[in-house]
Amino acid sequence: MRRIALPPRPDWTQQVERLGFAFHTIDGETYWDESAAFAFTLEEIERDIEAPSEAIEQLCFAFIEKALGSEQTLTKLAIPAEHWDYIRASWQRGERNLYGRLDLAYDGRGPAKLLEYNADTPTALFESSAVQWDWLEQAMARGVIPRGSDQFNSLHERLIAAFKALREPSPYRLHLTCVEGSAEDKGTVDYLTDCAVQAGLDARFTYIEELGLLSDGRFCDGANQPIETLFKLYPWEWMFRESYGKALAGSGCQFIEPPWKALLSNKGLLACLWEMEPGHPNLLPAFFEGDPRCATLSPRHVRKPLYSREGANVTLIERGRVLDSDDGPYGAEGHVLQDAALNLFSEDGKYAVLGSWLVASQACGLCLREDASPITKNTSRFLPHYIEP
């Protein structure tokens, strides 16, 4: 794994905009950054990222089986008790999942370590799938990277195939939703809508604020169309606690991601996995705050709220001193403490986190986010990668 400085395409904004990538610059700051790229060997990709990602997913499934039967675990994860049966039913029905992103620490040395699992509402998908792919083709054509390079990225075809298989019979009618006012979220959902259409689905967008409830208990879109299947880029922990949370179980709606993903998109997962498999090569020691075993953590560790997005409220601590933190609104439900990864990629004051994509639980893509601090935030830049020939 190497970070290689490369000349950006002189017309890179036009090039990415022609694909429909509208949020390459966020709040005036560059988000899509092709002034460098990460080069991997095929062995690094297959041995250190692809295989461990699928192994972690299997471990997560084993965890869900256990957790759904344990009131103690569900309580620790701060899952509201009134939704336990709803989550159990979605798991027992075998409701399929579409996608997720494992954030990994890896610098080419030693096994990749799980930092967290964005299992419910991951973004950076379109830029991983299409924009990065197109960059690779053009970088080879320009001769700035070797011809015959490759990329860990079959996201596009996997997403289309996964949409086809999410519900029987297929094709089916699919609604997709996100909050109003976020270009990044809307861009992600627009891309998924495109994939769903290519899967032959009758795909319709509606903002989450427009959702309504019909007299028969079903949800409906802004045009009063009943919703059978809903892709929501909106976290389960919020849906459980909002006023329509009570209507979930009776809505007959199949959600994507399914309700059982609420157990995985929770930082408590990190402590639970370590409890199940202490010493697993791809896990970092982690415990719920207040657990006496926290004393066994290394002096350099990270404090993460159970529910937190994009680095918000995450604190890096060394010997009791706060080295880095990000403000945010999270933390009321509790925290986990996790050892700081020793193999987080860093070079010249820049830190990079790997995002390993799973589609229908298969590892099939990679993205890299870079920041000037060890905590990856929503201001982190997206850098492309390639596999050396």
Binding site: L19, G20, L42, I45, N118, T121, P122, T123, W133, L136, E137, M140, A141, G148, D150, Q151, F152, N153, H156, C178, V179, S182, E184, D185, D190, T193, D194, V197, Q198, D202, R204, F205, Y207, I208, E210, L211, G212, L213, L214, S215, R218, C220, A223, N224, Q225, P226, Y234, P235, W238, M239, R241, E242, S243, Y244, A247, R309, E310, P329, Y330, P389
Partner: protein, 207 residues
Amino acid sequence: MKRSTQIGLGAAGVLLVATAWSLTGDDPPENLVYNSLSECQAGGQLSLQQCETAFSEAAAARIKDAPKFRSQSECEAQYGASGCNSASIGGAQYFIPALAGFMLARGFSGGQAQAQPLLPPTTASCPPGSTQPECQQARSSSSSSGGSGGTSGRSSSSSRAYSTTSGRAFSAASGAAIARAGVSSSSVSSRGGFGSFARSFSSSSSS
């Protein structure tokens, strides 16, 4: 290969096809999609002979694989006015969608890839009167099947909508074009029960 071989972005009207790099140093052809034989030959990326071969492969594949209709109106209902031609296949008379263009994988000159026929967009993805530029481009030139018209499939400025023989659209935003099915007879009892956390949190709802 660890990456997708092609990516179709319907909303942007772009089809991206992975290069099969020969590693011999020859520059690959840039164009992936031609609307006519003459456009291929004028493009200079393939030899005249390669263009003819590709065109005749696509034309033959269209006869073999395109949906066949008994009447012109049935065909036009799916492919739009002037989107169909009559064809005699196995002694029987059919109407089939016009050959709107053909597509070859990059690296075609060195490889085995067969040229694929491109048909006019379906009325599901490009309904009559659509103002989508890709649809207008497609409709304005589909009547002169095989005539000159748009350019490369990589150029979004002049991109147009097509469909494949399997019915897949890879240009034009078809999501908005799908006819709405009947609206439920149930009445709406409330609205706006989700989204309150997003309003109260300044930070993102995604990660």
